[in-house]
Amino acid sequence: MSTVRALLVRDIKLAWREGGAVGVALGFYLIVVAITPLGLGPDLNLLARIAPGILWVGLLLAALLSAGRIFENDYEDGTLDVLATGPVPLPVVAGVKCLAHWLSTGIPLVVLAPVLGLLLNLPMGAFPSLVLAMLAGTPAVSFIAGIGASLTLGLRRSGLLLALLVIPLYVPILIFGVSAVTPYVSGPNSVWPPFLILCALSLASVVLAPIAAAAALRTALR
């Protein structure tokens, strides 16, 4: 248990202290959201209507941008080989590293989202459901990104390939994430079903993704 905690703390520290790893993701999120109104025009009603979609798409892209980092550094300097032969099972190692990505990158992105919502004229009533939906959905984002990161470990142009592999898998998170926010903006639908489905998606990926990621890591380490 203490090994697991040490690994988690180490990964979070590395993410924060490594030159601008988290900062770049946050800056990327800001710029994606900032250029969208420039493309669509400054109509505040239109922006309010599409704000949940833009905030979610931006969050997914920003999380993906930093996902390659989950295993890359440890793979290059050989730490991953040590971890793979160590006492902690490899799926647990993979899960802890995905969890560290969620804590170090996912949560800051969720914290930034309401601020960006202000830029998009998102109605005030939608802010709590936006933050809750993102907190419920982002674990799935980090853990599924972990599968993609382990599959593309050490490949050329792995960033682009990672996006191509993982974005189709993000479709359910995006759809339910946006549905959990939209009712406040446009309709009387309940936010609970999509919110609960987001929780289910996250729980399922927390359990299943580390197994797939560990299997992919073994093929890369061989």
Binding site: L151, L164, L165, V171, P172, S179, L208, A216
Partner: protein, 245 residues
């Protein structure tokens, strides 16, 4: 399955099956096309455009069958290490992707007279587009990894992850679609199709399935031979290097 683990035996089987299967494909396609183009009556609402269905629907079915095949082959690669499973999955991906592409193109051509636009974010079209993207991801992963062993296992893992996700994606897209478009302009339920259209549809489906199997067998044969040539070249290079040393 076990006796087919020997690639040489598999190749000789393919050589025996391919001529017969080609004849079956030609006959079925000929009959199916004749039935769908000349015998099947035009729909009372859609007119002659309904005949696009005879290509569109079988192509969509086979693109799903292709992914199912990849998922089963992925189990074969990861659990039983069947030497042909990896070859089967790798060669099924481009064929399945092509059928998905055909389904998308014919769907959009069909949509122009029916919906008045080439693309509608209809639940089925959207799911098919995502399936096509999953295929592209698989093909890209195979091309990005040089070592065939690692490529096969990585693609098998991705194929299984995709197979688990496809029902969830399908469900979410249906949900999203009902949220945004309360009623679909155009729906094709099984029982609402007239039998005069159903017979050509099934013949075409059988023809496309036979075509899929034929193309897949030929592609697997080509892949096995490609790997042999590659292995031969490698040993030649090694021998040359030894001789120089």
């Amino acid at each position: 399955m076990i006796s087919l683990a020997n690639p040489t035996r598999f190749l000789s089987l393919v050589d025996r099956v391919v001529p017969w299967l080609s004849a079956v494909v030609v006959i079925l396609l000929g009959v199916g096309l004749y039935l769908s183009l000349f015998v099947a009556p035009p729909d009372y609402q859609q007119g002659e455009t309904v005949k696009i269905m005879f290509v569109h629907v079988p192509a969509a079915w086979l693109s799903m069958l292709g992914y199912t095949l990849i998922a089963i082959a992925a189990l074969g690669t990861l659990i039983w290490r069947h030497p042909l499973a990896d070859v089967a999955a790798k060669t099924a991906a481009p064929i399945g992707a092509t059928f998905a592409f055909i389904a998308l193109v014919t769907g959009s051509l069909w949509g122009k007279p029916m919906w008045g636009t080439y693309w509608v974010w209809d639940a089925r079209l959207t799911s098919m587009l995502i399936l096509f993207l999953l295929y592209l991801g698989l093909i890209a992963l195979w091309q990005a990894i040089d070592e065939p062993g690692r490529a096969g296992r990585a693609a098998a893992i991705l194929g299984l992850v995709g197979a688990i996700n496809i029902p969830i994606i399908k469900f979410s897209v249906d949900w999203w679609n009902t949220l945004h478009q309360p009623e679909s302009v155009f729906r094709m339920g099984g029982p609402t199709i007239d039998p005069s259209l159903l017979t050509p549809l099934f013949v075409m489906a059988a023809a496309f399935t036979a075509l899929f199997v034929l193309l897949h067998l030929i592609a697997m044969r080509a892949e096995i031979l490609r790997r042999r040539v590659h292995a031969l070249q490698q040993t030649q290079v090694e021998h040359a290097a030894l001789a120089e040393a």
